[in-house]
Symmetry: C2
Subunit: 302 residues, 2 copies
Amino acid sequence: MPGDMKACWEEKRTLVNEYLDKWIPSEETPPSQLHKAMRYRLFAGGKRIRSILALVAAEVVGGRELQALPVACGMEMIHTYSLIHDDLPAMDNDDFRRGKPTCHRVFGEALAILAGDALLTMAFQIMGDLALYPPDVEPNRVLEAVKEVAVAAGSLGMVGGQVMDLEMEGRDQQEGAEEALEWIHVHKTARLIEVSLEAGGIVAGGEKGDLALLKGYGRRVGLAFQIVDDILGSQGDRERMGKPVGRDMERGKLTYPAVYGVEASLARAKELVEEALDILRSFGEQAWFLRGLAQYVVERDR
Amino acid sequence: MPGDMKACWEEKRTLVNEYLDKWIPSEETPPSQLHKAMRYRLFAGGKRIRSILALVAAEVVGGRELQALPVACGMEMIHTYSLIHDDLPAMDNDDFRRGKPTCHRVFGEALAILAGDALLTMAFQIMGDLALYPPDVEPNRVLEAVKEVAVAAGSLGMVGGQVMDLEMEGRDQQEGAEEALEWIHVHKTARLIEVSLEAGGIVAGGEKGDLALLKGYGRRVGLAFQIVDDILGSQGDRERMGKPVGRDMERGKLTYPAVYGVEASLARAKELVEEALDILRSFGEQAWFLRGLAQYVVERDR
């Protein structure tokens, strides 16, 4: 990653972490085990891609990153809740993530379920709290963002994607695999990345045209991100991925490399990134970070 | 229940059911197993107390029930998600509720967790969708309601109560039991009933003073409701409760009858209802339904 991009990323990540820490009850607040479990996964060192995209989107449409801060933090909470629930024994049954034991391994299954529930709920509390936004953010736009995020995260979005992912597991991967694969990845991963950009742009006063461009970019980068994740999951070493490699294959998960092979999958990811870059063209120089991020998605090694 | 109250209840319940059916994706919408699971528990014949309280609160503060309809439906979705997650093997491990097999018994654990997640998410989608409210409802007030509901349902409210409930399970019930019991019941049950009234009142344009009265009433009726639930759970027959009787005792749950005995528990519930009725005094005739409901809470037999 180029130096100026890295610096910008770090600056925004620090800001998000600071406010997450400020807005989420401390570990001492009762019930303290619950707040410990919520914070355990939330502060496990994520890249904060979704929240950073929300902040960047605010700037790209001509607003300020502070306008999108509650949305950015909310997106990170929703992403974290989904990881906690996905890792549960009844779902993917993973013991490790990002090199750390998963939430239910440390706090037990009941608390992991409830920590996820509480993070999801708190995301809407923070995103819906007008007092946390600068005064120039319109209530109408905050509501619009809340609604769009809920749609993207719910049964027709992320949760729906996870259901389909589990349903396809271990099935004969030939019949209808390509269609199912795209559906799952769009819903499970791309929709949340897309809506991070959209919601960040909405609260910052973005115009309809710009919001549509951000969505188009987010959909493609989100899908490319998941394809690369699949490839890394099938190839990378344990240390890099923080979880056992080849686990998806073991479970008979529908992944891009399993269906298309590694080379064709990488080609598809690169194609999506090219489309995403095309979409950004009309934003000009102000979209430099989004351009760099799209490149990073296919070049990253973890 | 007196005839006019029953009629009013039925009318409001029909309205809520109609809109829940309208606003939640059909069983045919993919992923259809997910939407089936969401609808299975949601339409399992609940009393709809929380949603009805939201509608009534709107009228009591001088507004119309249609103003509170999205909030009412949202409260029912949140209540239902909490039942689905509470019943899970990792939590209360219940096989039956309201005489029907629990969600995870029918659809499996993974889908039950995800159906709960999706219902919680959809609650905020519906409550946050300005287009579902009559045009005279202010966006500011919708946001205020969303935020209050999230606080009441989250780690400092309902989810926190469930965590404490599980933590106290099977412990020595003498030490600190009374304090813990009240904390659990207020958080796990009363907060959601309280906020149903509050949020219904908020979106209907209620004044601060009236909202505070509604909250005071809701807290007391909510607590009385849970105490009576505890008593019925320890006494009622299986058919009435729809789940095995004495199950709480078996699991060493902290309940009012276990700590205070049945008689003292019932006396406490009646005392709370008296306080709730006192609080309603300034509303006059328009609060007739809330008065009747408070009475019903201690007189019901299931």
